[in-house]
Symmetry: C2
Subunit: 453 residues, 2 copies
């Protein structure tokens, strides 16, 4: 008997996992992950990026198997998975596995809910499949991070396709062999370049991972085979897409320690790396009151990744604003805002914000933790104000409470589907595990006007 | 004015190319490429790999926009592109750009014909779009080859997606800006691992490239944007997926020297690297006649890539047989065969072939060209016979004639759609440039029984 490889062992675990094997705190975190994802998918659903994708997809969609979350359209499950993945990520407001900067739910929940609406699945089984997919996705991410990410891969796309394959594979009740093939088919579709940050393609990545991962599961179900060592072979995923491969991150403690329990949720609608700056600037806004008009200049001392990822000096669009620590700091100081309204085209073009933004300076300091920032304000009267943020809100040490997740959900969702539908949807989402079937979420998340029509 | 980047310049060329800009010999080679591709797509259409993909795809297909070549099914154009890409490559019998080992037509023609059947396109415009796509695909391949391939990427998938995007982008008459976005959307979907060789996923790669490249063009048409430096940016395609980047291979002589004119067509239904061995062994079969039974052992001296790619000592399936220079040499010596019938499960399990295969030895020699081989037969009476193949049939120096392409087309196609339909299809294919619309190919390539039904 040959010993099973990494891909085979992971597939074996994923195929055989029982809901009861997952500790209660991890299931609770999985539920928070689902609620946060659902709010983000509704919140991003009327974004222009989604509109444009819909315009292309409607030419090709198959049977109306599933509802695009937060919209009136129904498409085949794979195209719905793609669109849910785009909308849940387009505001950069989704969840984060902080060890890898993966946004775990986008690929996995987007694929799973689309297929589940069509095929039927209980809420409890849904949660188990979601956690299994996220666990595998984050462990594969850990195996190759940071080299893989540093090379230029958008890890939410490249690791996400595995998570989607596993979640949908569980819905299809794939056996170990077919689950192994699904992982191989996922591996050979892994893609997504960081060069696309700041364009519509960034949110295409989790969508594409959801669609391709789901397709991998359906192909495997149909007997379409692949290498059974898709992850670890010399020319498999980990070796081709990374210089680092630590397979113990995939198999070590599998089923006993849980990456899915380490998920975090953004309080702000942009990359996690500028959260400390926004947090600190919001604190200063609240302290200074009208005196924010008297700020002469702003100095930020940040982890180097902040400048690498969000160093755009002169953003032109709302989307580019998410990649500008300068814009984000100015908007938080002037308007106490880090929500989606802070990153509109209008805000980015606002002369008052631009004037302050141009007086924000940021320096990289390897000794500053990714969740920290040092802020120095120089006021027009020559005085200075210092602020040190040890850990930003939304970090593992300062997680959002369930109530804060509710507020975040409601603020996004109400703008798209109205307050009444939002309240109902949110209450149902928290009851996920009690639902005999998850198929109702699509209809419950439709915009008010189309629900009324 | 900023100087245009590599991606922008390539898009500008592709968007503005006129049919008359392409020299007659290159158009003639493009026509040979199309005919060879069509024969391969028909020939592979009833393969189990395609059956299994169809079983998954039929769950999700949209409107019946296009005919799967060589089959009775009609699916939406994107899924048809995927299936045409699989069937044209599944027998490993398609075309080869020898500098990069790209199989150029698979991604490009598969996408273009599927969309053209739906939207309509003249044969002359089709040929121009096909050549534009192949030219870009091979130039992008040259830019990163060999490092990209050596790292483990299946270059037909990774470079092919660009070619499909450009060909379909021309059909959609994308302007320069949208063609640039289409290339960016293609770049961020580039995928396909060499680990999958010997499994059904190998032929998924050109199919997936066709589907994703076509989708990139439709997304760009709908205004879905991307980076405008998808190929050359620090975190773009070439830097992330390769250690070598030679952009002069993309832009140097663009429009004056033509990679699309360098395409070649396989006489044998397996990887190009074992063609010299099969060619030499067939020559020996014809000379030895019944004395092939008296071969005691076979020695091959080959380019190192032969063993790296086709070094399987004990293949178990027909598909694995394509990756065994040992099986290929034994079958050519005993049966004069290198066609699809040489690589069936039955042939691979044939005891007589196994007995000779186990007495084939191969050694790598860096000084032997990829298109050459040295063969030494040791006979049971102790004598030896030597054979040197300087350039194998199907190489640039010994290309298949149009008549040989006809024979190859007819042998494959007749098995799937019958001789009468094959003769008609082949005659129409050579008249591509005279056709007011290419939409008829799908119906003309249907299997006899479904055409009669």
């Amino acid at each position: 008997m040959t010993e099973l490889g990494v891909t085979q062992q992971l597939a074996q675990w994923a195929a055989n996992l029982k809901g009861g094997d997952i500790p209660a705190p991890v299931r609770a975190e999985g539920l928070r992950t689902f609620v946060n994802w659902l709010g983000c998918a509704v919140g991003g659903a009327d974004h222009e990026t989604v509109d444009r994708a819909v315009a292309a997809i409607k030419l090709f969609s198959g049977p109306a198997q599933a509802s695009v979350i937060g919209r009136s359209e129904r498409f085949d499950a794979l195209h719905t998975a793609l669109l849910n993945g785009i909308s849940s990520h387009v505001l950069d407001y989704d969840d984060t596995h902080l060890k890898t900067i993966i946004h775990p739910a986008g690929p996995v929940a987007s694929a799973l809910l689309a297929v589940a609406e069509w095929r039927g699945m209980s809420g409890a089984d849904f949660l188990t499949a979601l956690i299994a997919g996220i666990e595998a996705e984050c462990r594969i991410g850990n195996c190759v991070y940071p080299d893989h990410y540093d090379r230029g891969w958008h890890i939410t796309g490249t690791a996400g396709v595995f998570g989607a394959a596993i979640a949908v594979g569980r819905l299809l009740k794939l056996d170990e062999k077919k689950m192994t093939w699904a992982l191989g088919i996922a591996a050979t579709q892994a893609s997504g370049l960081r060069e696309m940050f700041g364009t519509m393609c960034k949110s295409l990545h989790p969508g594409h991972a959801a669609q391709n991962g789901a397709m991998a599961a359906f192909l495997a179900e149909a007997g379409f085979d692949s290498s059974e060592r898709g992850i670890e072979a010399p020319r498999g995923f980990a070796n081709v897409l990374s210089t680092k491969q630590d397979y113990n991150e995939i198999l070590g403690g599998l089923g006993t320690t849980w990456e899915a329990g380490l998920n975090s949720y953004k309080p702000f609608a942009c990359g996690i790396v500028i959260h400390p700056a926004i947090d600190g600037c919001q604190q200063l806004h609240r302290e200074l009151g009208p005196r924010v008009k008297e700020i002469a200049s702003v100095q930020l001392r940040t982890h180097p990744l902040v400048l690498e990822l969000t160093g755009k000096k002169t953003p032109k669009t709302g989307l580019e604003g998410k990649f500008s620590v300068y814009h984000a700091a100015a908007t938080a100081l002037l308007h106490d805002d880090g929500s989606p309204t802070a990153f509109t085209d209008q805000r980015v073009a606002d002369p008052e914000i631009i004037a302050l933004r141009d007086r924000v300076e940021a320096t990289a300091d390897q000794n500053v933790h990714e969740a920290s920032v040092a802020i120095t304000l120089r006021m027009k009267d020559g005085t200075t104000i210092e602020r040190w943020v040890e850990r930003a809100i939304g970090s593992i040490e300062r997680p959002l409470s369930n109530d804060e997740i509710d507020v975040k959900f409601s603020r996004q969702s109400a703008l798209v589907i109205g307050e009444a539908a939002t309240a109902k949807l949110l209450a149902t989402a928290w009851k996920l595990e009690e639902l005999p079937d998850v198929a109702g979420f699509g209809a419950a998340a439709q915009p008010a006007k189309s629900a009324a029509a």
